[in-house]
Every structure is written in structure tokens, then in C-alpha cells.
């Protein structure tokens, strides 16, 4: 029998994703809808020897083709004609949810109405006459509670037993459709017609609700009580800061970093010696040993150590998103974001930018307007991503040992200020004609399903793993070749290598920045390939190993002495200038690739690559020159 094609549609915040994850588990494929930057999620399952595919359509409030998401839903349902269409509805929020339902029925798309989160609705005191509801619509109605084996089984039973063509709109719906057609015929002004039809739909919804739902007497919900603290009073802002701080602590101190150290230890103490000894024992040529150990293991390893950080950060953010708190973050931060011409919703992708710019750029697609998306994408590279952090940490420890944490913190601030200024600038120049809007549902607080959080974390984090396996692997080989060869052949003196030539060419640009030697030029070049490479390149070129893995204060000081000695070119001031430059300049290749994917235009990639470089060059020059004038 052919695969049974099921499509899930519905409003945001109805538990649709939970149902999708429960139905398909980890058997999911996440791609893009053709031509747009909206996730396409497809999953597979088998039930009673029937193969079933499930498409999780983007959550929308209506299908008017006003956004790419709405267009996708409409096109998919009317052109692909899936065997089963499920409209997931939050049972405690039927009024607004039924709007989409009615719109679909107007287009004569037969559907199964899934009254989800029935347990919550009943707890709140809602009484729903399910049979009557089905009769009024003419469609089958299923009650589910989201995260439960029973509900999943019930849905699968319905899917496999239902033939959608058996269902036709009720007379009530058909009457509604004839009224809609009437308006369309008689009203010339398109906008006026649409507004009349919207009113007509809500009239019908009110009629359906009043004869099928008994509403609870209004009480103050738990969410409302929580909001009185988290979104209302003066403590909302400090509390937000505490939460963001907690996320960073969890990521960089409590959970992520210890795991990262574990991987680092494994690579440094186990894998590297094992590979060296193994290759030596096999009698492999010296150059190949060097390529594998110094090039590939060192390069890919330096990226792998960031994987726990990235996954921990995404876990925290996905969890917060699942609770509904992220909507409050947008609510609280909107006035601040608006100063930069952005909407409050932009906070979340930008916060992600402190983990890694790639998901942050991808996250921008959740924003409402093209302008919001573009500005968010273009300013994200200024933020201190996880890969820039080691650069800052290294230089701060070496040149500002007494207040390293403060200096690193200042670099974060430099990034944020730069992002805000550039957002403002883009806002009044390139995108001045478009308006940013803000209209956001504040969903009830919920404890997120762990399965959802884990799947989302995996989905976002795996991009980083792929990056380690592909681009970083290739770059590690490339950098090794460039630093071990010159145009005449292999060389033992790295100062004679191709990398040195490239580095000194680039370093000319930094004559007035105080760090114009070829090693730094080379580090800057490799940093465009991957920011992780700045530290590893500097480590390799200045001939210091264990550069970022000093275990204790003593080892760190020892490294510092070694490096300060060999890094003759750097003073505290030029180091600061170099830090500022590294903080702001051209994003890594992976980020640029993501910008291409999200904006669809090379023009924006080139723009993002060049304007960040120019901005970084100017600001770091100012730091060095003003610092010099002040006598540092």
C-alpha cells in the first residue's frame, strides 16, 4: 500500500510540534521549503504495517499568503493534496484557533480537527461538546493531550481508518461559504471585502462556540500570576538578566565547559599520543604524521571542544523557548530593540549569536519582516561567538592578567555596541523604507516536553558538528599545507612558508594598528576560514603548544611568559587593538555561507564580509591611535 501522507497544520503554540515529535520520534528530516527560509519538517512512522509520512507545516494563524509560512501551508494543502490533513487546535483557545479551520474549510480542504491539550482545557473548566462540534463543521474531531502514548495511538488509529473524501462541509459551513462569495461579488474594494469576510468568520466562530463550549468563569490563570512577576514589575528586567546570566553560567562554567575540557583532555592526552605512536609504528612518512596530528587532529579537535558548549547553550535556549518565556523576553526587550530599529523578537536570535553566529543567522527567519530579518542577519557577526571567546580569553590572560575577566567582558560590550550602532545605521540607510512591526502572542507558560527540547537542540547543534567534519577538516589540511610549504616545495621554517607570504601581505593593512607582523596577518586570514583558527594559528606560528589548554594558573603563567617573550610585536595596547579587530571583523566562512543561504544573494554575502572588515579596521585603529595618544 502506498505511503499514507499526513499533514499537520494549526496555529503556533498549540502543541503541534509535540504531536509531530510523538508521532515520528527521531525519524525526521529537516530541510527547507524551496526558495524560502522556512524549515520543512518531515517525519516517518509505521503503524499496523502501514507506512506513514507526516509533514509538520509551519504554524500560522491564517492562510492569507501574507507571509512565506502562510503561502507554504496554503500551497501544500491545495496542491500536494495529502491523504490526511490534521488541524491541531488548542482546546482552551478555540476561538482564535478556529479562524484557520474555517479558512481551510472555505477552500473545501477536508480535515481532522485535533482538539489538543484537552487535559489543560478541562482543568481550566472548559466543557466541550465534541460530537456537536463535529456535526457543525462536518468533519471528524479527535481529542488529544499532546505528550501521551495514548493520544499518539489514537491519532494513528484515526489516520489509518479515515478516508478524507468521506467528509463534506456541513450545511452551516456551506451557507457561510455562499455568504463569503456574496461579499466577494458585491464588494469592489478588495480590502473592504476581506475585512467583511474576517468579521463573517468570527460571527460563525461565535455561533459555533456558543453552542458547543461552556466556558469557565473567569479566574486568574497560573500564567497570569507568573506574568505579574516575570513581565510586569520592576524586577522583570533584573530577572531577565539573571536568567541570561544563568544560561551563560550553565554553558560556560557548570555543564558545557567541563564537558569541553573532557573532550580537550581526551584529544590532547589520549588521541594525539595514540595517533603519533600509531602512525610512527606503522612507519608512515613524517610529513603525513605531521599532517594528521598537527593539522587534522589539532584543527578538527579545536572545533570539537566547542561542541558541548554549543549543545548546552541550545539546550537552554530551546528549553526557555518551550516554556513560553522567550515571548516575554521579546515583550520586555521590544522598546530597547526598537531604538535600533528592530523588534523585540530579534532578541532571541541575537542571544544565540553569543553561542554561534550560524544558528543566530538561521534564527532570524522567525522574525516578522524582511527588514528585521536582514538587519538581524547583518549585525549578528559583531557579537562574541563561542569561537571568538578563546581569542579574547587568551589575549586577556596574557596581556591583562590582573583583570582578564573585565577585559573579556568589555569585548562583549564592544560587540554589542557595534551591533546596535550598525543596526541603527542600516535602519536609516539601506532599509529605511520598510517598517518593523511587532505583534506577538504571549502563550501560557508550560513545562516543555523534553523530547521537543532535545530534538530541537540536536537539530540546531548538528550543523556545528557537520561544520567540524567538513569545512574545518578541509581548512586544517589547507592551513597545514600553507604553513609547511612554499612555492619551492616543503619547508621546515614556517617563516618561509606560503602562509607567511600571505600573512605579511595582509599585515601591511595593520601598519598603524601596532600588530603588523606576518604571524598576525596569517591568523587573521585563517580566522576568516574559522574563528577557532586564530588561536590555533597563533599557537602554531609562535611555536607554543597547549596554548588554550593550560590547566592551572601556574601553567597559564608559564605560557604567558613564553608567549609574551615570543610575541615581541605585541604590547598591551596593540593586543587590545588586535582583540577589538578579531571581535568585529569578517565572519567565518560558515557564517557567510549561512548568510548566502538565508538571504539568497551573493550581494549580501559580499556586503557582510566587507563592511564588517572595514568597521573592525576603523575601530581597532582608533583604539590603538587614541591609546597611543593617551600614553599607553
Amino acid at each position: 500500500m502506498a505511503v499514507l501522507a499526513v499533514a499537520l497544520t494549526g496555529n503556533p503554540n498549540t502543541g503541534k510540534s509535540t504531536i509531530f515529535n510523538e508521532l515520528t520520534g527521531a525519524r525526521q528530516k529537516i530541510g527547507n521549503w524551496p526558495g524560502v527560509t522556512v524549515d520543512k519538517k518531515v517525519g516517518y512512522t509505521n503503524y499496523r504495517e502501514r507506512a506513514i509520512s507526516v509533514v509538520d507545516l509551519p504554524g500560522t494563524y491564517s492562510v492569507d499568503a501574507r507571509s512565506p509560512e502562510e503561502k507554504i501551508v496554503l500551497d501544500y494543502l491545495s496542491q500536494e493534496k495529502p491523504d490526511i490533513v490534521v488541524d491541531v487546535v488548542d482546546a482552551s483557545n478555540m476561538e482564535r484557533n478556529l479562524f484557520l479551520t474555517i479558512q481551510l474549510l472555505e477552500k473545501r480542504i477536508a480535515l481532522i480537527l485535533d482538539l489538543n491539550m484537552m487535559d489543560e482545557a478541562q482543568k481550566q473548566g472548559y466543557k466541550i461538546n465534541v460530537k456537536k462540534l463535529g456535526e457543525m463543521l462536518g468533519m471528524p474531531v479527535v481529542e488529544t493531550v499532546g505528550r501521551s502514548k495514548q493520544s499518539t495511538k489514537k491519532l494513528l488509529d484515526v489516520f489509518t481508518a479515515t478516508v478524507m473524501s468521506d467528509y463534506k462541509n456541513s450545511e452551516l459551513i456551506e451557507l457561510h461559504i455562499s455568504k463569503v462569495n456574496d461579499i466577494l461579488e458585491k464588494t469592489i474594494d478588495k480590502e473592504e471585502a476581506e475585512e467583511k469576510i474576517i468579521a463573517l468568520r468570527y460571527e460563525l466562530i461565535d455561533q459555533i462556540i456558543s453552542s458547543t463550549v461552556v466556558r469557565p468563569t473567569a479566574t486568574t490563570s497560573v500564567s497570569e500570576k507568573i506574568d505579574r512577576v516575570l513581565a510586569n514589575s520592576f524586577i522583570a528586567l533584573p530577572l531577565l538578566l539573571v536568567l541570561v546570566y544563568a544560561v551563560f553560567q550553565i554553558t560556560f562554567t557548570w555543564i558545557g565547559q567541563p564537558l569541553a575540557d573532557g573532550i580537550d583532555d581526551f584529544i590532547g592526552d589520549v588521541l594525539t599520543p595514540w595517533a603519533s605512536d600509531g602512525l610512527a609504528a606503522l612507519g608512515v612518512a613524517d610529513w603525513l604524521q605531521s599532517l594528521v596530528v598537527d593539522g587534522i587532529i589539532a584543527g578538527v579537535g579545536s572545533v570539537l571542544t566547542f561542541v558541548p558548549l554549543i549543545f548546552t547553550l541550545f539546550f537552554c535556549l530551546s528549553f526557555l523557548d518551550g516554556t513560553g518565556y522567550m515571548a516575554r523576553v521579546a515583550f520586555i526587550m521590544d522598546p530597547i530593540m526598537r531604538r535600533a530599529g528592530l523588534s523585540g523578537k530579534g532578541v532571541m536570535p541575537l542571544i544565540m549569536g553569543f553561542g554561534c553566529g550560524v544558528p543566530a543567522i538561521m534564527g532570524a527567519k522567525a522574525l516578522d519582516s524582511e527588514k528585521d530579518r536582514m538587519i538581524s542577519i547583518l549585525v549578528t557577526p559583531f557579537l562574541t561567538c563561542g569561537a571568538k571567546l578563546p581569542i579574547m580569553a587568551l589575549f586577556a590572560a596574557l596581556f591583562f592578567p590582573d583583570n582578564a575577566a573585565d577585559v573579556v567582558f568589555c569585548m562583549y560590550i564592544v560587540g554589542v555596541v557595534m551591533a546596535i550602532c550598525m543596526a541603527k545605521l542600516l535602519n536609516v540607510t539601506t532599509f529605511k523604507d520598510e517598517k518593523a512591526t511587532f505583534l506577538l502572542e504571549l502563550p501560557p507558560y508550560r513545562l516543555p516536553a523534553m523530547k521537543n527540547v532535545l530534538l530541537e537542540t540536536w537539530d540546531k547543534g548538528k550543523g556545528y558538528l557537520i561544520k567540524a567534519g567538513t569545512i574545518i577538516f578541509a581548512m586544517s589540511v589547507l592551513i597545514w599545507v600553507l604553513s609547511n610549504y612554499n612555492f619551492a616545495g616543503p619547508t621546515d621554517d614556517m617563516g618561509e612558508s606560503i602562509l607567511a607570504s600571505l600573512g605579511s601581505a595582509v599585515s601591511v593593512l595593520f601598519t598603524f594598528h601596532g600588530f603588523a607582523n606576518w604571524e598576525n596577518g596569517a591568523a587573521i586570514i585563517t580566522g576568516i576560514l574559522a574563528k577557532e583558527s586564530v588561536v590555533s594559528t597563533i599557537g602554531v606560528l609562535y611555536g607554543v603548544t597547549d596554548i588554550s589548554t593550560a590547566k592551572d594558573a601556574e601553567a597559564a603563567t608559564e605560557n604567558a611568559v613564553k608567549l609574551a617573550g615570543s610575541m615581541g610585536g605585541f604590547t598591551a595596547l596593540s593586543a587590545l587593538s588586535f582583540m577589538v579587530f578579531s571581535q568585529l571583523y569578517t565572519p567565518c566562512i560558515t557564517a557567510l555561507g549561512t548568510i548566502k543561504k538565508e538571504t539568497g544573494k551573493w550581494k549580501w554575502v559580499a556586503f557582510a564580509a566587507i563592511y564588517t572588515f572595514v568597521a573592525a579596521w576603523i575601530v581597532s585603529l582608533l583604539v590603538y591611535q587614541i591609546g597611543s595618544l593617551l600614553g599607553y
Binding site: D64, E195, I198, A199, N232, F331, D334, I336, L440, E441
Partner: protein, 73 residues
């Protein structure tokens, strides 16, 4: 008065919506003539505002709320 002028805790009814980019989106979300709205609060920095309508909560900017005429119920 407009929705912007309504104070937290007030219950109001929509009289009309002025033309704006958001008008049809607001209407699709159930904010049409006759809809009863409860004003929940303003964000800590004064803007945007949070309202409750049709059994869910929505937030919108004061500039947009200013384009919605309401009357006290």
C-alpha cells in the same frame, strides 16, 4: 478613546480599527468590532502593552494600539 489610553485592569470593547499595515492581521487574530479586550499590563519599560482577548494573550506596541478605538464596557 483608543486602546493605548486604556489602563491596566480595564475591560474595553473594540469600536473601530483605523487603517494601518497591521489592520488585517489584527482582525485575523480576532480583534474586530465588538471584541471585548482586557488590558493586562504594559511592559516594564512602558511599551508594548499586553492584552487578553478571546481566551489568549497578545502584545502590541502602543503606536499600533493608538489606532484601535475602544469604549469602556
Amino acid at each position: 478613546m483608543t486602546l493605548k489610553e486604556a489602563k491596566a485592569g480595564m475591560t474595553v470593547k473594540v469600536v473601530s480599527l483605523e487603517h494601518s499595515d497591521l489592520k488585517q492581521r489584527l482582525m485575523s487574530l480576532g480583534l474586530i468590532k465588538g471584541t471585548v479586550i482586557k488590558v493586562l499590563r504594559s511592559a516594564p519599560l512602558g511599551d508594548p502593552m499586553a492584552i487578553s482577548l478571546r481566551a489568549y494573550n497578545l502584545s502590541l506596541r502602543l503606536a499600533d494600539a493608538d489606532k484601535i478605538k475602544v469604549e469602556v464596557v
